[in-house]
Protein backbone atom coordinates (compact mmCIF):
# COMPACT_ATOMS: atom_id res chain seq x y z
CA UNK A 1 0.00 0.00 0.00
CA UNK A 2 2.77 2.37 0.97
CA UNK A 3 4.65 1.31 -2.16
CA UNK A 4 1.58 2.29 -4.21
CA UNK A 5 1.36 5.63 -2.41
CA UNK A 6 5.07 6.06 -3.07
CA UNK A 7 4.48 5.41 -6.77
CA UNK A 8 1.84 8.14 -6.81
CA UNK A 9 3.97 10.66 -4.95
CA UNK A 10 7.23 9.67 -6.60
CA UNK A 11 7.10 12.38 -9.19
CA UNK A 12 6.38 15.03 -6.63
CA UNK A 13 8.82 14.01 -3.92
CA UNK A 14 11.58 11.99 -5.46
CA UNK A 15 12.68 8.47 -4.59
CA UNK A 16 14.62 9.40 -1.44
CA UNK A 17 11.48 10.57 0.34
CA UNK A 18 9.86 7.26 -0.63
CA UNK A 19 12.71 5.52 1.21
CA UNK A 20 11.79 7.40 4.39
CA UNK A 21 8.14 6.52 3.96
CA UNK A 22 9.08 2.85 3.70
CA UNK A 23 11.34 3.15 6.75
CA UNK A 24 8.50 4.59 8.80
CA UNK A 25 6.27 1.76 7.66
CA UNK A 26 8.81 -0.89 8.71
CA UNK A 27 9.21 0.82 12.09
CA UNK A 28 5.45 0.83 12.64
CA UNK A 29 5.27 -2.84 11.67
CA UNK A 30 8.03 -3.59 14.20
CA UNK A 31 5.76 -2.28 16.96
CA UNK A 32 3.13 -4.93 16.28
CA UNK A 33 4.67 -7.90 14.50
CA UNK A 34 7.17 -10.58 15.43
CA UNK A 35 10.89 -10.28 14.56
CA UNK A 36 10.86 -12.56 11.46
CA UNK A 37 8.03 -10.85 9.54
CA UNK A 38 9.51 -7.43 10.39
CA UNK A 39 12.95 -8.33 9.03
CA UNK A 40 11.23 -9.78 5.98
CA UNK A 41 9.38 -6.49 5.55
CA UNK A 42 12.67 -4.60 5.82
CA UNK A 43 14.25 -6.80 3.12
CA UNK A 44 11.20 -6.69 0.83
CA UNK A 45 10.82 -2.93 1.13
CA UNK A 46 14.51 -2.52 0.25
CA UNK A 47 13.99 -4.70 -2.83
CA UNK A 48 10.82 -2.81 -3.80
CA UNK A 49 12.49 0.52 -3.30
CA UNK A 50 15.37 -0.58 -5.45
CA UNK A 51 13.19 -2.17 -8.16
CA UNK A 52 10.50 0.47 -8.39
CA UNK A 53 12.17 3.71 -7.47
CA UNK A 54 15.96 3.81 -7.71
CA UNK A 55 17.01 4.81 -11.22
CA UNK A 56 17.21 2.93 -13.49
CA UNK A 57 13.68 2.01 -12.42
CA UNK A 58 12.12 -1.48 -12.85
CA UNK A 59 15.51 -3.17 -12.67
CA UNK A 60 17.42 -4.51 -9.67
CA UNK A 61 20.57 -2.74 -10.78
CA UNK A 62 21.56 0.41 -8.99
CA UNK A 63 22.91 3.21 -11.17
CA UNK A 64 25.14 5.36 -8.97
CA UNK A 65 27.51 4.61 -6.06
CA UNK A 66 25.60 7.14 -3.98
CA UNK A 67 22.39 5.18 -4.51
CA UNK A 68 24.17 1.91 -3.75
CA UNK A 69 25.33 3.33 -0.38
CA UNK A 70 21.83 4.70 0.21
CA UNK A 71 20.27 1.29 -0.48
CA UNK A 72 22.70 -0.46 1.85
CA UNK A 73 22.12 2.15 4.56
CA UNK A 74 18.37 1.86 4.05
CA UNK A 75 18.54 -1.89 4.63
CA UNK A 76 20.77 -1.54 7.72
CA UNK A 77 18.62 1.19 9.29
CA UNK A 78 15.40 -0.78 8.63
CA UNK A 79 16.86 -3.93 10.16
CA UNK A 80 18.39 -2.23 13.21
CA UNK A 81 15.13 -0.39 13.72
CA UNK A 82 13.18 -3.63 13.58
CA UNK A 83 15.47 -5.46 16.00
CA UNK A 84 15.59 -2.59 18.51
CA UNK A 85 11.82 -2.08 18.54
CA UNK A 86 11.37 -5.80 18.98
CA UNK A 87 13.78 -5.85 21.92
CA UNK A 88 12.05 -2.95 23.63
CA UNK A 89 8.76 -4.76 23.31
CA UNK A 90 10.25 -7.89 24.84
CA UNK A 91 11.51 -5.96 27.86
CA UNK A 92 8.14 -4.25 28.29
CA UNK A 93 6.39 -7.61 28.18
CA UNK A 94 8.67 -9.03 30.85
CA UNK A 95 8.15 -6.06 33.15
CA UNK A 96 4.40 -6.35 32.73
CA UNK A 97 4.45 -10.09 33.46
CA UNK A 98 6.59 -9.50 36.54
CA UNK A 99 4.17 -6.82 37.79
CA UNK A 100 1.20 -9.06 37.26
CA UNK A 101 2.90 -11.93 39.00
CA UNK A 102 3.75 -9.71 41.97
CA UNK A 103 0.13 -8.56 42.06
CA UNK A 104 -1.26 -12.10 41.96
CA UNK A 105 1.25 -13.26 44.55
CA UNK A 106 0.03 -10.47 46.81
CA UNK A 107 -3.59 -11.40 46.14
CA UNK A 108 -2.82 -15.03 46.78
CA UNK A 109 -1.09 -14.22 50.05
CA UNK A 110 -4.06 -12.23 51.35
CA UNK A 111 -6.33 -15.04 50.27
CA UNK A 112 -4.20 -17.70 51.92
CA UNK A 113 -3.92 -15.67 55.10
CA UNK A 114 -7.65 -15.22 55.38
CA UNK A 115 -8.34 -18.83 54.41
CA UNK A 116 -5.80 -20.37 56.70
CA UNK A 117 -7.15 -18.24 59.52
CA UNK A 118 -10.71 -19.27 58.79
CA UNK A 119 -9.84 -22.96 58.54
CA UNK A 120 -7.18 -23.18 61.24
CA UNK A 121 -9.20 -21.46 63.96
CA UNK A 122 -11.88 -24.16 64.15
CA UNK A 123 -9.32 -26.94 63.62
CA UNK A 124 -7.22 -25.57 66.48
CA UNK A 125 -10.30 -25.48 68.67
CA UNK A 126 -11.22 -29.06 67.82
CA UNK A 127 -7.71 -30.43 68.37
CA UNK A 128 -7.29 -28.46 71.58
CA UNK A 129 -10.60 -29.49 73.08
CA UNK A 130 -10.15 -33.14 72.10
CA UNK A 131 -6.61 -33.18 73.58
CA UNK A 132 -7.90 -31.69 76.77
CA UNK A 133 -10.68 -34.24 77.07
CA UNK A 134 -8.25 -37.06 76.32
CA UNK A 135 -5.31 -36.29 78.58
CA UNK A 136 -6.68 -33.89 81.15
CA UNK A 137 -9.94 -35.68 81.80
CA UNK A 138 -9.27 -36.38 85.49
CA UNK A 139 -8.92 -32.71 86.38
CA UNK A 140 -11.89 -31.42 84.42
CA UNK A 141 -15.29 -30.88 85.99
CA UNK A 142 -18.37 -32.23 84.24
CA UNK A 143 -19.28 -28.64 83.34
CA UNK A 144 -15.84 -28.06 81.76
CA UNK A 145 -16.17 -31.27 79.79
CA UNK A 146 -19.55 -30.41 78.37
CA UNK A 147 -18.28 -26.93 77.50
CA UNK A 148 -15.34 -28.40 75.62
CA UNK A 149 -17.66 -30.74 73.74
CA UNK A 150 -19.91 -27.80 72.87
CA UNK A 151 -16.84 -25.91 71.54
CA UNK A 152 -15.93 -28.86 69.33
CA UNK A 153 -19.45 -28.93 68.00
CA UNK A 154 -19.53 -25.18 67.17
CA UNK A 155 -16.06 -25.29 65.61
CA UNK A 156 -16.89 -28.24 63.39
CA UNK A 157 -20.06 -26.57 62.14
CA UNK A 158 -18.03 -23.46 61.32
CA UNK A 159 -15.38 -25.54 59.57
CA UNK A 160 -18.02 -27.37 57.60
CA UNK A 161 -19.53 -24.09 56.42
CA UNK A 162 -16.16 -22.80 55.19
CA UNK A 163 -15.46 -26.05 53.37
CA UNK A 164 -18.92 -25.91 51.83
CA UNK A 165 -18.20 -22.39 50.53
CA UNK A 166 -14.83 -23.40 49.13
CA UNK A 167 -16.36 -26.42 47.40
CA UNK A 168 -19.13 -24.28 45.93
CA UNK A 169 -16.59 -21.74 44.71
CA UNK A 170 -14.45 -24.36 43.02
CA UNK A 171 -17.61 -25.92 41.57
CA UNK A 172 -18.47 -22.53 40.06
CA UNK A 173 -14.97 -22.00 38.70
CA UNK A 174 -14.42 -25.52 37.40
CA UNK A 175 -16.79 -24.98 34.51
CA UNK A 176 -18.35 -28.38 35.25
CA UNK A 177 -21.27 -26.65 36.74
CA UNK A 178 -24.81 -27.13 35.56
CA UNK A 179 -28.05 -25.48 36.56
CA UNK A 180 -30.77 -28.11 36.83
CA UNK A 181 -33.97 -26.16 36.43
CA UNK A 182 -37.31 -27.54 37.52
CA UNK A 183 -40.58 -25.96 38.64
CA UNK A 184 -40.12 -24.33 42.04
CA UNK A 185 -42.63 -23.29 44.62
CA UNK A 186 -41.05 -20.09 45.97
CA UNK A 187 -43.02 -20.38 49.19
CA UNK A 188 -41.48 -23.79 49.81
CA UNK A 189 -38.01 -22.48 48.87
CA UNK A 190 -38.13 -19.54 51.29
CA UNK A 191 -39.63 -21.37 54.25
CA UNK A 192 -37.35 -24.37 53.78
CA UNK A 193 -34.33 -22.06 54.00
CA UNK A 194 -35.74 -20.19 56.98
CA UNK A 195 -36.33 -23.52 58.71
CA UNK A 196 -32.70 -24.52 58.14
CA UNK A 197 -31.55 -21.18 59.55
CA UNK A 198 -33.86 -21.21 62.56
CA UNK A 199 -31.03 -21.32 65.15
CA UNK A 200 -29.26 -18.36 63.49
CA UNK A 201 -32.40 -16.31 63.00
CA UNK A 202 -34.12 -16.81 66.31
CA UNK A 203 -33.20 -13.32 67.54
CA UNK A 204 -34.18 -11.57 64.29
CA UNK A 205 -37.66 -10.55 63.18
CA UNK A 206 -38.24 -12.18 59.82
CA UNK A 207 -41.22 -11.14 57.71
CA UNK A 208 -42.14 -12.88 54.48
CA UNK A 209 -44.42 -11.40 51.82
CA UNK A 210 -45.41 -13.79 49.04
CA UNK A 211 -48.55 -13.32 47.00
CA UNK A 212 -51.01 -16.23 47.02
CA UNK A 213 -51.06 -15.88 43.25
CA UNK A 214 -47.29 -16.11 42.81
CA UNK A 215 -46.67 -18.51 39.91
CA UNK A 216 -44.18 -21.37 39.83
CA UNK A 217 -40.73 -20.57 38.38
CA UNK A 218 -38.16 -22.72 36.60
CA UNK A 219 -35.11 -22.62 38.88
CA UNK A 220 -32.52 -24.89 40.41
CA UNK A 221 -34.04 -25.37 43.87
CA UNK A 222 -30.76 -26.47 45.50
CA UNK A 223 -28.76 -23.52 44.16
CA UNK A 224 -31.45 -20.98 45.05
CA UNK A 225 -31.64 -22.42 48.54
CA UNK A 226 -27.90 -21.83 48.85
CA UNK A 227 -28.34 -18.26 47.55
CA UNK A 228 -30.96 -17.44 50.18
CA UNK A 229 -29.00 -19.26 52.87
CA UNK A 230 -25.80 -17.28 52.17
CA UNK A 231 -27.65 -13.95 51.95
CA UNK A 232 -29.45 -14.50 55.25
CA UNK A 233 -26.30 -15.75 56.99
CA UNK A 234 -24.55 -12.64 55.69
CA UNK A 235 -27.25 -10.43 57.20
CA UNK A 236 -26.93 -12.12 60.58
CA UNK A 237 -23.17 -11.53 60.43
CA UNK A 238 -23.42 -7.82 59.62
CA UNK A 239 -26.49 -6.63 61.48
CA UNK A 240 -27.17 -6.66 65.21
CA UNK A 241 -29.82 -8.92 66.73
CA UNK A 242 -33.40 -7.64 66.87
CA UNK A 243 -32.99 -6.39 63.32
CA UNK A 244 -35.99 -6.83 61.06
CA UNK A 245 -35.46 -8.89 57.90
CA UNK A 246 -38.05 -8.61 55.14
CA UNK A 247 -38.24 -11.14 52.32
CA UNK A 248 -40.43 -10.43 49.32
CA UNK A 249 -41.07 -12.48 46.19
CA UNK A 250 -42.85 -11.15 43.10
CA UNK A 251 -43.32 -12.00 39.46
CA UNK A 252 -42.41 -8.99 37.32
CA UNK A 253 -43.02 -9.63 33.62
CA UNK A 254 -41.18 -12.90 32.88
CA UNK A 255 -38.90 -12.68 35.91
CA UNK A 256 -38.76 -13.69 39.52
CA UNK A 257 -37.86 -10.73 41.71
CA UNK A 258 -36.69 -11.64 45.19
CA UNK A 259 -35.82 -8.89 47.61
CA UNK A 260 -34.27 -9.18 51.01
CA UNK A 261 -34.11 -6.08 53.15
CA UNK A 262 -32.88 -5.43 56.65
CA UNK A 263 -33.05 -2.37 58.86
CA UNK A 264 -29.49 -2.69 60.15
CA UNK A 265 -26.78 -0.13 59.57
CA UNK A 266 -26.36 -0.75 55.83
CA UNK A 267 -23.09 -1.07 53.93
CA UNK A 268 -20.37 1.62 53.68
CA UNK A 269 -21.16 3.33 50.35
CA UNK A 270 -17.60 3.03 49.05
CA UNK A 271 -17.58 -0.72 49.63
CA UNK A 272 -20.93 -1.62 48.05
CA UNK A 273 -19.44 -2.24 44.62
CA UNK A 274 -16.93 -4.69 46.07
CA UNK A 275 -19.06 -6.88 48.34
CA UNK A 276 -19.71 -9.47 45.62
CA UNK A 277 -15.99 -9.77 44.82
CA UNK A 278 -14.32 -13.01 45.68
CA UNK A 279 -12.61 -12.96 49.10
CA UNK A 280 -13.74 -9.39 49.76
CA UNK A 281 -14.57 -8.67 53.37
CA UNK A 282 -15.85 -5.42 54.83
CA UNK A 283 -13.17 -3.46 56.63
CA UNK A 284 -14.94 -3.70 59.96
CA UNK A 285 -16.18 -7.28 59.46
CA UNK A 286 -16.50 -9.41 62.56
CA UNK A 287 -14.58 -12.66 62.62
CA UNK A 288 -15.95 -15.56 60.65
CA UNK A 289 -16.37 -15.61 56.92
CA UNK A 290 -13.95 -16.02 54.07
CA UNK A 291 -15.49 -13.37 51.87
CA UNK A 292 -16.87 -16.11 49.64
CA UNK A 293 -20.55 -16.18 50.64
CA UNK A 294 -21.78 -13.28 48.52
CA UNK A 295 -19.57 -14.07 45.53
CA UNK A 296 -21.13 -17.54 45.49
CA UNK A 297 -24.55 -15.89 45.64
CA UNK A 298 -23.64 -13.78 42.61
CA UNK A 299 -22.16 -16.77 40.78
CA UNK A 300 -25.26 -18.93 41.29
CA UNK A 301 -27.59 -16.13 40.23
CA UNK A 302 -25.54 -15.39 37.12
CA UNK A 303 -25.62 -19.11 36.32
CA UNK A 304 -29.40 -18.58 36.15
CA UNK A 305 -28.79 -15.57 33.83
CA UNK A 306 -30.04 -13.34 36.62
CA UNK A 307 -28.70 -10.28 38.41
CA UNK A 308 -28.25 -9.19 42.00
CA UNK A 309 -28.10 -5.61 43.21
CA UNK A 310 -27.29 -4.17 46.59
CA UNK A 311 -28.17 -0.70 47.80
CA UNK A 312 -28.58 1.06 51.09
CA UNK A 313 -32.07 2.08 52.11
CA UNK A 314 -32.82 5.79 52.69
CA UNK A 315 -33.10 5.72 56.47
CA UNK A 316 -31.26 2.62 57.56
CA UNK A 317 -30.48 -0.89 56.39
CA UNK A 318 -29.77 -2.41 53.03
CA UNK A 319 -31.66 -4.11 50.24
CA UNK A 320 -30.58 -7.03 48.04
CA UNK A 321 -32.65 -7.40 44.88
CA UNK A 322 -32.40 -10.56 42.81
CA UNK A 323 -33.95 -10.64 39.34
CA UNK A 324 -34.03 -13.89 37.39
CA UNK A 325 -35.69 -14.10 33.99
CA UNK A 326 -37.20 -17.57 33.70
CA UNK A 327 -40.17 -19.65 32.60
CA UNK A 328 -43.34 -19.16 34.66
CA UNK A 329 -46.29 -21.48 35.24
CA UNK A 330 -49.62 -20.11 36.45
CA UNK A 331 -51.31 -23.41 37.30
CA UNK A 332 -51.50 -22.46 40.97
CA UNK A 333 -54.91 -23.90 41.50
CA UNK A 334 -55.63 -27.10 39.68
CA UNK A 335 -59.12 -28.45 39.62
CA UNK A 336 -59.02 -32.18 39.04
CA UNK A 337 -62.68 -33.00 39.56
Amino acid sequence: MVVMLGLLLHNLLGYRVVAFMLLVTVSILAMFLDIVPVLLAALLSAVFWNFLFIPPRFTLTVGTTEDRILLLMYFIIASVNAVLTYKIRQVEKEVKARDEKAKSVKFYNTLLNSLSHELRTPITTIIGCADNLQSNSGRLSEKDKSELVAEISVASIRLNQQVENLLNMSRLESGFFTVKKDWCDINDLIYKTLHRLEPNLQNYHVKVYISEQLPLFQLDFGLMEQVLFNLLINITQHTPEDTQITIRADAVEQSLVLSIADNGKGFPENEISKVFDKFYRLRDARTGGTGLGLSIVKGFIEAHNGTIELKNLPVCGSLFTITIPTAISHINKVKDE
Binding site: S156, N160, K180, D182, W183, C184, D185, N187, D188, Y191, K192, H195, V208, L216, D220, F221, G222, E225, S329, I331, N332, K333, V334, K335, D336, E337
Partner: protein, 233 residues
Protein backbone atom coordinates in the same frame (compact mmCIF):
# COMPACT_ATOMS: atom_id res chain seq x y z
CA UNK B 1 -27.12 -59.78 71.04
CA UNK B 2 -29.09 -62.38 69.13
CA UNK B 3 -32.38 -60.50 69.30
CA UNK B 4 -31.02 -57.02 68.61
CA UNK B 5 -31.42 -55.62 65.10
CA UNK B 6 -28.28 -55.87 62.98
CA UNK B 7 -26.87 -53.13 60.80
CA UNK B 8 -24.16 -53.55 58.16
CA UNK B 9 -21.87 -50.54 57.74
CA UNK B 10 -20.30 -50.37 54.27
CA UNK B 11 -17.63 -47.64 54.19
CA UNK B 12 -13.96 -47.69 53.22
CA UNK B 13 -12.99 -45.11 55.87
CA UNK B 14 -12.07 -46.90 59.11
CA UNK B 15 -12.74 -43.72 61.09
CA UNK B 16 -16.30 -43.44 59.85
CA UNK B 17 -16.94 -47.15 60.48
CA UNK B 18 -15.67 -46.75 64.02
CA UNK B 19 -17.81 -43.68 64.68
CA UNK B 20 -20.91 -45.40 63.30
CA UNK B 21 -20.17 -48.63 65.18
CA UNK B 22 -19.84 -46.86 68.54
CA UNK B 23 -22.95 -44.77 67.92
CA UNK B 24 -25.08 -47.70 66.80
CA UNK B 25 -23.86 -50.21 69.38
CA UNK B 26 -24.52 -47.77 72.19
CA UNK B 27 -28.06 -47.53 70.85
CA UNK B 28 -28.60 -51.26 71.02
CA UNK B 29 -27.94 -52.36 67.44
CA UNK B 30 -25.51 -55.13 66.56
CA UNK B 31 -22.94 -54.27 63.94
CA UNK B 32 -21.25 -55.79 60.90
CA UNK B 33 -18.62 -53.90 58.93
CA UNK B 34 -17.39 -54.03 55.34
CA UNK B 35 -14.69 -51.86 53.75
CA UNK B 36 -15.30 -52.68 50.10
CA UNK B 37 -18.11 -53.61 47.76
CA UNK B 38 -16.90 -57.19 47.40
CA UNK B 39 -16.60 -57.67 51.16
CA UNK B 40 -20.07 -56.16 51.59
CA UNK B 41 -21.77 -58.48 49.12
CA UNK B 42 -20.17 -61.56 50.73
CA UNK B 43 -21.17 -60.33 54.16
CA UNK B 44 -24.80 -59.72 53.14
CA UNK B 45 -25.02 -63.17 51.52
CA UNK B 46 -23.75 -64.87 54.68
CA UNK B 47 -25.58 -62.87 57.36
CA UNK B 48 -28.32 -60.71 55.83
CA UNK B 49 -28.60 -57.63 58.09
CA UNK B 50 -31.82 -55.84 59.06
CA UNK B 51 -30.51 -52.60 57.56
CA UNK B 52 -27.54 -51.43 55.50
CA UNK B 53 -25.68 -48.11 55.67
CA UNK B 54 -23.99 -47.80 52.29
CA UNK B 55 -21.29 -45.27 51.32
CA UNK B 56 -21.43 -44.44 47.61
CA UNK B 57 -17.67 -43.92 47.20
CA UNK B 58 -16.09 -47.34 47.62
CA UNK B 59 -12.59 -48.26 46.40
CA UNK B 60 -13.35 -51.36 44.31
CA UNK B 61 -16.74 -50.57 42.78
CA UNK B 62 -19.26 -47.76 42.95
CA UNK B 63 -21.88 -47.83 45.66
CA UNK B 64 -24.49 -47.64 42.90
CA UNK B 65 -23.30 -51.02 41.58
CA UNK B 66 -23.32 -52.54 45.07
CA UNK B 67 -26.88 -51.27 45.53
CA UNK B 68 -27.92 -52.74 42.18
CA UNK B 69 -26.51 -56.16 43.11
CA UNK B 70 -28.09 -56.02 46.56
CA UNK B 71 -31.51 -55.12 45.24
CA UNK B 72 -31.60 -58.25 43.08
CA UNK B 73 -32.57 -60.18 46.18
CA UNK B 74 -32.09 -58.13 49.37
CA UNK B 75 -35.32 -56.39 50.46
CA UNK B 76 -34.44 -54.85 53.85
CA UNK B 77 -33.84 -51.08 54.01
CA UNK B 78 -30.69 -49.53 52.57
CA UNK B 79 -29.69 -46.02 53.63
CA UNK B 80 -27.14 -44.18 51.48
CA UNK B 81 -24.45 -42.31 53.43
CA UNK B 82 -22.39 -40.17 51.13
CA UNK B 83 -20.18 -37.11 50.85
CA UNK B 84 -21.31 -36.51 47.31
CA UNK B 85 -24.13 -34.04 47.59
CA UNK B 86 -24.97 -33.94 43.92
CA UNK B 87 -28.74 -34.32 43.74
CA UNK B 88 -28.48 -36.49 40.63
CA UNK B 89 -26.42 -39.03 42.53
CA UNK B 90 -28.98 -39.23 45.30
CA UNK B 91 -31.94 -39.45 42.93
CA UNK B 92 -30.14 -42.25 41.06
CA UNK B 93 -29.62 -44.22 44.29
CA UNK B 94 -33.21 -43.68 45.45
CA UNK B 95 -34.57 -44.75 42.08
CA UNK B 96 -32.37 -47.86 42.30
CA UNK B 97 -34.08 -48.88 45.52
CA UNK B 98 -32.33 -47.05 48.36
CA UNK B 99 -34.78 -46.13 51.12
CA UNK B 100 -33.15 -42.96 52.32
CA UNK B 101 -29.96 -40.91 52.19
CA UNK B 102 -27.74 -38.96 54.56
CA UNK B 103 -25.06 -36.48 53.50
CA UNK B 104 -21.76 -36.46 55.39
CA UNK B 105 -21.30 -34.68 57.71
CA UNK B 106 -24.55 -35.60 59.45
CA UNK B 107 -25.78 -35.31 63.04
CA UNK B 108 -26.03 -38.48 65.10
CA UNK B 109 -29.62 -37.70 66.04
CA UNK B 110 -30.56 -37.47 62.38
CA UNK B 111 -28.86 -40.81 61.64
CA UNK B 112 -30.68 -42.60 64.43
CA UNK B 113 -34.02 -41.09 63.44
CA UNK B 114 -33.59 -42.22 59.83
CA UNK B 115 -32.61 -45.73 60.92
CA UNK B 116 -35.61 -46.01 63.26
CA UNK B 117 -37.94 -44.75 60.58
CA UNK B 118 -36.59 -47.15 57.92
CA UNK B 119 -36.82 -50.12 60.31
CA UNK B 120 -40.33 -49.19 61.41
CA UNK B 121 -41.45 -49.04 57.81
CA UNK B 122 -39.88 -52.43 57.18
CA UNK B 123 -41.74 -53.85 60.15
CA UNK B 124 -45.16 -52.45 59.28
CA UNK B 125 -47.54 -54.45 57.14
CA UNK B 126 -47.92 -53.19 53.60
CA UNK B 127 -51.73 -53.07 53.58
CA UNK B 128 -52.56 -51.33 56.82
CA UNK B 129 -56.23 -50.40 57.16
CA UNK B 130 -55.67 -47.10 58.99
CA UNK B 131 -52.80 -44.78 59.85
CA UNK B 132 -53.17 -42.83 63.06
CA UNK B 133 -50.68 -40.03 63.61
CA UNK B 134 -51.09 -37.57 66.47
CA UNK B 135 -52.86 -34.85 64.47
CA UNK B 136 -53.64 -36.77 61.32
CA UNK B 137 -55.79 -39.86 60.74
CA UNK B 138 -56.09 -41.78 57.48
CA UNK B 139 -58.67 -44.54 56.96
CA UNK B 140 -57.45 -46.25 53.79
CA UNK B 141 -60.43 -48.62 53.48
CA UNK B 142 -62.98 -45.80 53.48
CA UNK B 143 -60.72 -43.06 52.04
CA UNK B 144 -61.33 -40.82 55.02
CA UNK B 145 -58.76 -38.26 56.20
CA UNK B 146 -59.10 -36.36 59.47
CA UNK B 147 -57.00 -33.44 60.67
CA UNK B 148 -57.33 -32.80 64.42
CA UNK B 149 -60.46 -34.98 64.40
CA UNK B 150 -62.13 -32.93 61.66
CA UNK B 151 -62.78 -34.64 58.35
CA UNK B 152 -60.79 -33.03 55.53
CA UNK B 153 -62.15 -32.97 52.01
CA UNK B 154 -59.43 -34.06 49.60
CA UNK B 155 -59.62 -34.22 45.82
CA UNK B 156 -58.94 -37.60 44.19
CA UNK B 157 -55.37 -36.59 43.29
CA UNK B 158 -54.67 -35.13 46.72
CA UNK B 159 -55.84 -38.37 48.28
CA UNK B 160 -53.71 -40.56 45.96
CA UNK B 161 -50.70 -38.42 46.78
CA UNK B 162 -51.31 -38.57 50.54
CA UNK B 163 -51.90 -42.31 50.61
CA UNK B 164 -48.75 -42.92 48.55
CA UNK B 165 -46.83 -40.77 51.05
CA UNK B 166 -48.32 -42.59 54.03
CA UNK B 167 -47.54 -46.02 52.58
CA UNK B 168 -43.91 -44.92 52.26
CA UNK B 169 -43.58 -43.23 55.59
CA UNK B 170 -40.06 -41.99 56.31
CA UNK B 171 -38.87 -42.80 52.81
CA UNK B 172 -37.73 -40.13 50.36
CA UNK B 173 -39.89 -40.32 47.25
CA UNK B 174 -38.33 -38.72 44.18
CA UNK B 175 -40.25 -36.28 41.97
CA UNK B 176 -40.16 -38.85 39.17
CA UNK B 177 -41.54 -41.60 41.39
CA UNK B 178 -44.41 -39.45 42.63
CA UNK B 179 -45.34 -38.22 39.17
CA UNK B 180 -45.28 -41.73 37.77
CA UNK B 181 -47.34 -43.28 40.57
CA UNK B 182 -49.94 -40.54 41.01
CA UNK B 183 -50.28 -39.08 37.51
CA UNK B 184 -49.05 -41.99 35.39
CA UNK B 185 -46.05 -42.57 33.12
CA UNK B 186 -47.13 -39.95 30.56
CA UNK B 187 -46.83 -37.11 33.10
CA UNK B 188 -43.23 -37.66 34.15
CA UNK B 189 -42.11 -34.19 33.10
CA UNK B 190 -44.99 -32.23 34.54
CA UNK B 191 -43.52 -31.50 37.92
CA UNK B 192 -45.51 -28.26 38.17
CA UNK B 193 -48.62 -30.32 39.06
CA UNK B 194 -46.70 -32.03 41.85
CA UNK B 195 -45.64 -28.65 43.31
CA UNK B 196 -49.18 -27.32 43.24
CA UNK B 197 -50.74 -30.43 44.76
CA UNK B 198 -48.13 -30.68 47.51
CA UNK B 199 -48.82 -27.04 48.39
CA UNK B 200 -52.59 -27.67 48.44
CA UNK B 201 -52.24 -30.84 50.45
CA UNK B 202 -50.07 -29.05 53.00
CA UNK B 203 -52.75 -26.39 53.42
CA UNK B 204 -55.23 -29.11 54.30
CA UNK B 205 -53.22 -31.45 56.52
CA UNK B 206 -50.43 -29.35 58.06
CA UNK B 207 -50.96 -27.31 61.21
CA UNK B 208 -48.68 -24.64 59.71
CA UNK B 209 -48.29 -25.19 55.93
CA UNK B 210 -45.16 -23.00 55.94
CA UNK B 211 -43.49 -25.20 58.54
CA UNK B 212 -44.65 -28.61 57.36
CA UNK B 213 -44.33 -31.43 59.88
CA UNK B 214 -45.60 -34.23 57.61
CA UNK B 215 -44.58 -33.48 54.02
CA UNK B 216 -40.92 -32.46 54.08
CA UNK B 217 -39.20 -31.01 51.01
CA UNK B 218 -35.93 -32.71 50.07
CA UNK B 219 -34.24 -30.03 47.93
CA UNK B 220 -33.90 -31.03 44.31
CA UNK B 221 -34.73 -34.66 45.13
CA UNK B 222 -38.33 -35.10 46.22
CA UNK B 223 -40.42 -35.28 49.38
CA UNK B 224 -40.39 -37.30 52.57
CA UNK B 225 -43.51 -38.09 54.58
CA UNK B 226 -43.16 -38.08 58.35
CA UNK B 227 -46.02 -39.65 60.23
CA UNK B 228 -45.50 -38.50 63.77
CA UNK B 229 -44.84 -34.82 63.45
CA UNK B 230 -42.08 -34.75 66.03
CA UNK B 231 -40.11 -37.71 64.67
CA UNK B 232 -38.00 -35.73 62.24
CA UNK B 233 -35.52 -34.04 64.53
Amino acid sequence: MSNSLSILIIDDEAQIRKLLAITLQSNGYSIQEAASGKEALTCVAMHPPDLILLDLGLPDQSGHDVLKHLREWFTNPVIIVSVQNGEEDIVKALDAGANDYLIKPFRTGELLARIRSALRKAASVANMPVADYTDLFIDFANRIVKKDNVTVKLTATEYSLLSLFAQNEGKVLTHQYLLQHVWGPTHQNESQYLRVFVAQLRKKIETDPNRPAHIITESGVGYRFIGHGNDHS
